[in-house]
Symmetry: C2
Subunit: 163 residues, 2 copies
């Protein structure tokens, strides 16, 4: 599993979608404006999300995207896997036991790490994130949910290492 900003964008967009789909399909243009992600990029991401059957699309006026499953059946891991396409075959995947010692010396380490991360991300559902988000909104009831300049924070180029 790979952790980059791409997955972060995708998750952010999915949360936005989850928060609004009760009012019908959500347009990418809306997500783009609210979250400060370029429309083209969202199109690419949602193309992948759709092909992985995490979202459904509705064309025409009033159209947009909706989630394909309930929020508690979509995990963060699902989203990240969908947009990050992990170039399957090219590596000595979990199956082959990497004879030729030096090769894949770090195999066990990485597959353990992978596993841990995956387990963690798979344990976090969109539902729980949405709930978190709702709680925050509840604290500041009348603030409008339009934040154009969210970019500085959301679009940052890399994860931060922290102790």
């Amino acid at each position: 599993m790979r952790l980059t900003t791409k997955g972060r964008f995708a998750v952010t967009a999915m949360i936005d979608l989850a928060l609004r789909q009760s009012e019908g399909p959500v347009t990418l243009a809306g997500i783009s404006e609210r979250q400060g992600i370029s429309l083209s990029y969202l199109e690419q991401l949602f193309g992948k999300l759709r092909r992985h059957e995490l979202v459904c699309s509705v064309r025409g006026p009033g159209g947009g995207y909706t989630l394909a499953r309930a929020t508690d059946l979509i995990s963060v891991a699902d989203v990240i896997i969908a947009v990050d396409e992990p170039l399957d075959a090219t590596q000595c995947g979990g199956k082959e036991d990497c004879r030729d010692e030096g090769r894949c010396m770090t195999h066990d380490l990485w597959s353990n790490l992978n596993k841990r991360m995956f387990e963690y991300l798979a344990s976090v559902s969109l539902a729980s994130l949405v709930e978190q988000q709702r709680e925050r909104l509840a604290c500041k009831p009348h603030q409008e949910i339009v934040f154009r300049e969210a970019r500085d924070c959301v679009s940052v180029a890399s994860f931060e290492a922290q102790a």
Copy 2:
């Protein structure tokens, strides 16, 4: 924390170094040949590792690199942090509580993930990896420790997602 091939290369190289430093400084040329990582790239990585005081350099003939600390005092997290320099300031770092809800909607998620990954990687020392590696070598006692074509496996471009 960011997970890319860069960190993977660095860890692989550090294990190679740990396995051989008993015979004196280890050259990057050697690591390059054995692990299939380009010399220039290793030079960059080891520049960072040196500046983070994880390795020491010895110039001139017979020179090379040695570890700056005992293998059980160097964690995988140390190595990855060293080569990945997390562009500190640009983001809304852990301190600021990201008011303006939509902004950093996923803040908690990512910082939790970060924390988990970091804890895991910090718990894995170079010593434990070396020991693992030694055990494997022990099973195939007479095989020469020269594996030119390790690239196919080690150089793959991304982590694999796996359940």
